[in-house]
Symmetry: C2
Subunit: 118 residues, 2 copies
DNA sequence: AAGCGTTATGTACGCAAAGATATAACGTGA
DNA sequence: TCACGTTATATCTTTGCGTACATAACGCTT
């Protein structure tokens, strides 16, 4: 390293996610989707804000609810605004946990990147 | 968390890589490829051992050499065994560095996973 | 000269993931 | 009763990535 990567153009980056029975199901994408659902009250609008198809968004929501026992997103069809979705308290906890984890991860990567420049 | 993910079926996992001028170029795949090239003395055989096409392997090698200034893989055409490839000392250093980084990362994830079970 | 296994490179094919589109059901409000 | 926006779901199309295949050059061996 001392010779190869010490010019500041290199850095360590990475990704973290949560696995349930071996398969990845909760990472940056689902986190943002949950946040947008909370904001907009709608899977449809959340998907649009992320430039994602409704189908993809729905599949993510569906898998989240399947793998985690308790429903993270609760949906309703029909009604005042045609329906809508909101996220559960469990989902809010999960988001908080992931964000703090990501912050620790960010520091980890920052430290490792710093080692490169020494 | 305390309520949602405390049954031991969930764990934190992730991936780490090295970026040069914004683009990912060095992660688990390239590391293994370099190791296999060192073992076999051939990009071709290394690719086969990894179930990867030669073309893909060559593209990885090519990008590695491009992004890192010094050549990590030195190749030769023709000759006794038709040619072959070997990895430079810089490449060996890079592999060592990545493996130690990955070990620290593994511990990080292990600790974070442990927090889930508490 | 001919053969071998390799590097190096272009092109064509397949497949899986993602997107686009269509449709039904729902419940409130006008 | 109809319109609306949403969830829910099936089907068709597209697109991007990797593989497969083909070919040339190379240099040592026989």
């Amino acid at each position: 390293m001392r010779d190869i990567l010490t010019n500041g153009q290199f850095r360590v980056n990475g990704s973290l996610w949560l696995e349930g029975n071996g398969t990845r199901f909760f990472g940056p994408g689902p986190v943002e989707l949950l946040q947008r659902i909370e904001e907009t009250g709608s899977i449809n609008q959340a998907a649009k804000k992320m430039g994602m198809s409704y189908k993809k968004a729905w599949e993510i929501v569906n898998r989240l609810n399947e793998i985690v026992g308790s429903p993270l997103v609760v949906t309703a069809t029909g009604g005042e605004k045609g329906g809508g979705s909101s996220i559960s308290d469990d989902a809010k906890q999960l988001i908080e946990w992931y964000l703090s984890l990501r912050e620790r991860f960010r520091k980890f990567m920052e430290e490792e990147s710093l080692k490169l420049t020494v």
